[in-house]
Symmetry: C2
Subunit: 198 residues, 2 copies
């Protein structure tokens, strides 16, 4: 936690786990603000996730899958997954998920940005990457039988954005539209890029 | 839940509340897929939220606030809030929140889009609106003493996007950048717009 110089700085002074589940925990946490006030919050703890914007000259690689939690049989998304392997870095998780979900690898990987899904009550942070110079790759996964791979023409990118209901996918696709329009400024002002030959 | 014609359609056949909290519930839900397979999922139930992109010719109205759940003392966001008043429509909630958080009303309100924050495990849906033709408004709120109002020059919109870590704000600001660039296509192909004189 950043103490910072902000008048809005706070410190966590207590935490009680009230639910411990398979994917998430819920904690009642207590904070003390710089002005001395104390308050409690109900917080969902999540390990974080990755999303991959995989594209080449002509196409964007998307998936359609059932999302039971939100009652959607056919949500259009970028490939993604949880940071659920101990010690795995976000980039490694992204490379693993891309192979598992769509059977692709990328020779070039670039961090796009990372964000909090719902900062008011949940600590999930999603790390987005762009993967390009794609090639066939394979990986074992027992959980993807209901995922349909969708090769979406880049010239119809605006239509994908218009029908998208998924936060990580909206962010990734709008980022891509900005890049293709040439109006992109990287997060934090840095232009970190990783060239990987695999 | 939509049954649909998709091979990915499913039905919910069971739901057990395993945690019932102030803001969220957690349920273990059981689903049966069209292929007959059954599976259980841990699902966070949330009432949903609204976010407001309030801007005029020169400025965008943002807030900085502490987000204890993610350890950030100073997260840059659009005004937002939960759908926590019974029977309140998203547009009403957005109008209430804008007045409470930044003391502004808007003569013109327009739905931008809505999205799921993290569709794999949480049903939170966020409804984004654009508010323009702004004027002073006031509303009572006891919970906003640590919110700083930030009037951000529209000409520096790209800088706000570059430093933003919050999903709803990223989506709203990138949508605004598209609108200002003239490359916007509305969600679902419709151009619904509400002109409100208040």
């Amino acid at each position: 936690m950043s103490a910072g110089g902000s008048p809005r700085a706070f410190e966590r002074i207590g935490s009680e786990t009230v639910y411990s589940g398979a994917l998430i925990d819920v904690r009642i946490e207590r904070y003390r603000h710089r002005d001395g006030a104390e308050e409690s919050r109900e917080v969902v703890r999540h390990q974080g996730a990755v999303g991959i914007l995989a594209y080449d000259e002509q196409e964007l690689w998307l998936v359609r899958q059932p999302r039971e939690a939100v009652g959607e049989p056919d949500l259009l998304e970028i490939p993604a997954g949880r940071l659920d392997v101990a010690g795995e870095e976000p980039l490694q998780a992204a490379q693993r998920e891309l192979a598992e979900e769509i059977g692709r690898g990328g020779a070039r990987w670039e961090p796009i940005l990372s964000y909090y899904s719902s900062a008011g009550f949940c600590d999930e942070r999603v790390h987005l990457f762009a993967a390009t110079e794609l090639h066939a790759a394979s990986a074992q996964s027992g959980e993807n039988e209901r995922i349909e791979i969708v090769r979406w023409p880049l010239v119809k990118l605006d239509e994908a954005i218009a029908q998208c209901l998924d936060a990580k996918t909206l962010i990734a696709l709008m980022w891509l539209a900005r890049r293709l329009n040439g109006s992109l400024h990287p997060q934090g002002g840095s232009a970190a890029e990783a060239k990987l030959e695999r």
